[in-house]
C-alpha cells in the first residue's frame, strides 16, 4: 500500500513537469506581459529593460529551467499584476474553490445517486421519464446559462439569495470558510448548484446505466432466487457493484470541477482559483498562470490516487491480488 502511494507520487512529479513544459511553451503566445504591466508613459527603452530584467528574452529552455528550479525550492515567484507572492495569492483562493467544488460534488452525489437508483429500478414510471427529461435539459444547457437563470430567479426576482461573491466567511486559522455562517451558505448554494448540475446528470445516468446492467447479472438473479430481501439486494449488492466505474468518472469529473470552475466563478464572481486564472490570462500574468497549471496537475493526480485507493476499498476482487 505504501509502495503504491509512493510510486504514484513519483509519477505525479513527472505529470507536473510535463504540464509545466506544455504550459511554458504556450506562454510565448499569450501576449505581451510588459505592455500590460506598464503604463503609456513608459518609454520603449524602459520596456525593453524590464523585459530583459524579468528574463523574458532568454531562450525557452532557460526560462523553463528557472521556473522548475524555483518551484522545487518552493519559490513560486511574484505576480506581474499584483506584485504579491504567487503562493500567497493561490493559497488564499484555494478554500473558496475547494468548498464550492466539494458542495457541488455532494449535491451531485446525494441527488444523482438516489435518482440513478430509482430510475434504474422503475424504468417505466412517469417520475423516471420526468427525471430523465430534466437531466437531458440540464446537460444541454451551458453552465453559465444555468448560472444566469438561477441568479435571475433567486437573486433578482425573488431576492432570496445573493447574486455574487462569497458572503460572510469565517477565518479558521488561515482557511476562509463559508460553512459556518448562514450568509456563507446562502452565497454558496447557487454557484454549487450551477457547478453541480452537469456532474449530477452525468452521475445519475451513469448509475442508472450501470445498475440496470448489474441487475441483469447472474449473482443478482441467484440472490433473488435464494430469497435475499430486495432492499439488501439493491443496496448492498447491486449498488456496490455499480459504484466502481461511477467512482472513476466522479473522480475525474471532480478534478475537472475544481480545475475548470472558471465559468461558474466568473458568473458568480466567486473569489476562487478559477477567477484568479481568468484574470491572470487577461493581464498576461505568466507566473500565476504557470503555478496555477502545475497546482491543478498535482491536484488531478491526487484525486486519481484517492479514486484508485477507493477501488480497493469497494471492490473486494482487488484486495485478493497484490496491489502494485
Amino acid at each position: 500500500m505504501v509502495y503504491f502511494i509512493a510510486k504514484r507520487l513519483v509519477q505525479s512529479v513527472f505529470v507536473m513537469l510535463a504540464v509545466a513544459f506544455l504550459a511554458f511553451s504556450l506562454f510565448r503566445f499569450v501576449g505581451d506581459p510588459i505592455t500590460q504591466m506598464t503604463g503609456v508613459e513608459t518609454s520603449v527603452q524602459d520596456q525593453e529593460r524590464l523585459r530583459e530584467d524579468l528574463g523574458l528574452n532568454d531562450p525557452f529552455i532557460y526560462q523553463f529551467a528557472r521556473f522548475t528550479g524555483d518551484m522545487l525550492k518552493g519559490d513560486f515567484g511574484f505576480s506581474y499584476r499584483t506584485r504579491q507572492p504567487v503562493a500567497e495569492m493561490i493559497a488564499t483562493r484555494i478554500p473558496a474553490t475547494l468548498e464550492l467544488g466539494i458542495v457541488a460534488l455532494l449535491i451531485s452525489l446525494f441527488v444523482g445517486i438516489p435518482a440513478g437508483v430509482y430510475t434504474a429500478l422503475r424504468p417505466r414510471g412517469i417520475a423516471t421519464q420526468t427525471i430523465l427529461m430534466l437531466t437531458l435539459v440540464g446537460v444541454s444547457i451551458p453552465t453559465f446559462v444555468i448560472g444566469i437563470i438561477l441568479i435571475f430567479f433567486f437573486g433578482v426576482q425573488l431576492g432570496w439569495l445573493p447574486t455574487f461573491g462569497r458572503g460572510g466567511t469565517v477565518n479558521l486559522g488561515g482557511w476562509e470558510t463559508s460553512f459556518l455562517t448562514v450568509d456563507g451558505w446562502r452565497a454558496l448554494i447557487l454557484p454549487a448548484i450551477t457547478l453541480g448540475v452537469y456532474q449530477l446528470t452525468l452521475t445519475m445516468r451513469l448509475v442508472r446505466a450501470e445498475m440496470m446492467d448489474v441487475m441483469q447479472s447472474d449473482y443478482i438473479r441467484f440472490a433473488t432466487a435464494r430469497g435475499v430481501p430486495m432492499r439488501r439486494l439493491y443496496f448492498k449488492h447491486a449498488l456496490a457493484n455499480t459504484m466502481v466505474p461511477v467512482i472513476t468518472i466522479i473522480g475525474l469529473q471532480f478534478g475537472g470541477v475544481i480545475a475548470f470552475s472558471i465559468v461558474t466563478e466568473s458568473v458568480f464572481q466567486w473569489p476562487g482559483m478559477g477567477l484568479l486564472f481568468l484574470e491572470s490570462i487577461r493581464f498576461v500574468d505568466i507566473p500565476v498562470m504557470g503555478v496555477y497549471l502545475v497546482v491543478i496537475a498535482f491536484f488531478f493526480v491526487l484525486v486519481n490516487l484517492i479514486v484508485d485507493l477507493l477501488y480497493v476499498f469497494i471492490d473486494p476482487r482487488l484486495r485478493i491480488k497484490d496491489v502494485s
Binding site: D32, V40, R282
Partner: protein, 254 residues
C-alpha cells in the same frame, strides 16, 4: 480614434491595391473621416451617452482648442468625391484592426465603422483581438488602420501631442504611441515650445496651430469621448473621477 500607417508605403491587407498606400493621401483619409456617422453610432451603440470628438482631447481638458471644434461631418457623397479625386473611384480594400476587450463596445464600433466605410467603397476587413496581443502587433507595423483610445495622463493637450503626434524618436522618448509615425515638421517644432511656454494665451495659440494642422492633414480620425458608466448599490456614495480611476478612499458605504 482611428490611426493610419502614415509611413507605410503599401497596404498590408488589401486585395486590390498592393503597390501604394492610399492612406498616405490626405484626401483619402478625409474621405474615410466623412464616411463615419457618429450620430447613428451614438444612438444605436452607445445609447446616446457619448460625445463625438473633434480633436484628441475632449472639451474641458486644458489645451482644448476652441478655435478648431469642427469634426468632418457625415457626408458619404463628399467621401466618394474625394476618393474619386484621389484616383480611387471604386474605392479599395484594406485591413482594419481593433481590440475586442479594451474599450466599451470596441468590436461593435469597429463593425459599424467597417460597414460605414464599405458604403463609400472602402472595404474594410475587420480583425479584432484581445488587447494583450494588440500593442505588439501595432508596434510591428502590422496594420492598415487601427483603433486607439487615449487618456491624457497630464490632463493637458500636450500629452497626446507628445505621444501621438510627434515623430517617433525613441532616444528622446517622443511619439512612442504614434504607431503610424505621423510626422509634421511644424508640429515637432512646436512641441518643445508648448512644453516651455508659461503664458496661457501664447501657449493656446501654438496648440491651436497644431490642432489646425493635424485636423487638416487628418492625422487621426477622432471618434468619440468614452462615457464613464459606473453602477453602485443604493447605500454606496462614491466620487467619480473624470479619468475613470477608482479611488477606494473616496467611497462611503452607508
Amino acid at each position: 480614434m482611428f490611426g493610419f500607417g502614415h509611413e507605410h508605403d503599401t497596404l498590408l491587407y488589401s486585395n486590390d491595391v498592393t503597390d501604394v498606400n492610399p492612406f498616405q493621401d490626405p484626401r483619402v483619409r478625409l474621405a474615410a473621416a466623412h464616411a463615419i456617422d457618429m450620430a447613428s453610432i451614438d444612438r444605436v451603440l452607445f445609447r446616446g451617452k457619448i460625445e463625438a470628438a473633434n480633436q484628441l482631447v475632449p472639451a474641458g481638458i486644458s489645451g482644448y482648442s476652441e478655435a478648431n471644434q469642427s469634426r468632418p461631418d457625415y457626408n458619404p457623397d463628399r467621401a466618394k468625391e474625394l476618393l474619386a479625386e484621389a484616383g480611387y473611384p471604386d474605392g479599395f480594400s484594406f485591413g482594419l484592426k481593433c481590440t475586442n476587450d479594451r474599450y466599451i463596445n470596441d468590436e461593435a464600433l469597429c463593425r459599424a465603422a467597417a460597414s460605414m466605410f464599405a458604403a463609400v467603397g472602402l472595404n474594410a476587413e475587420l480583425s479584432t483581438g484581445p488587447v494583450r496581443d494588440y500593442w505588439p502587433q501595432l508596434r510591428e507595423d502590422d496594420f492598415d488602420m487601427y483603433l486607439l483610445g487615449w487618456s491624457p495622463g497630464t490632463f493637458d493637450m500636450e500629452h497626446p501631442v507628445r505621444f501621438l503626434l510627434h515623430t517617433q524618436d525613441d532616444e528622446a522618448r517622443l511619439g512612442s504611441w504614434n504607431f503610424g509615425n505621423y510626422s509634421n515638421a511644424r508640429v515637432d517644432e512646436l512641441l518643445p515650445l508648448i512644453q516651455q511656454e508659461i503664458d496661457p494665451a501664447a501657449r493656446q495659440a501654438m496648440i491651436d496651430e497644431i490642432v489646425a494642422i493635424t485636423q487638416e492633414e487628418v492625422a487621426y480620425i477622432p471618434l468619440y469621448t468614452q462615457p464613464l458608466i459606473w453602477a453602485a448599490k443604493d447605500n454606496i456614495y462614491l466620487t467619480q473621477r473624470a479619468d475613470n480611476f477608482f479611488m477606494l478612499r473616496w467611497v462611503t458605504v452607508n
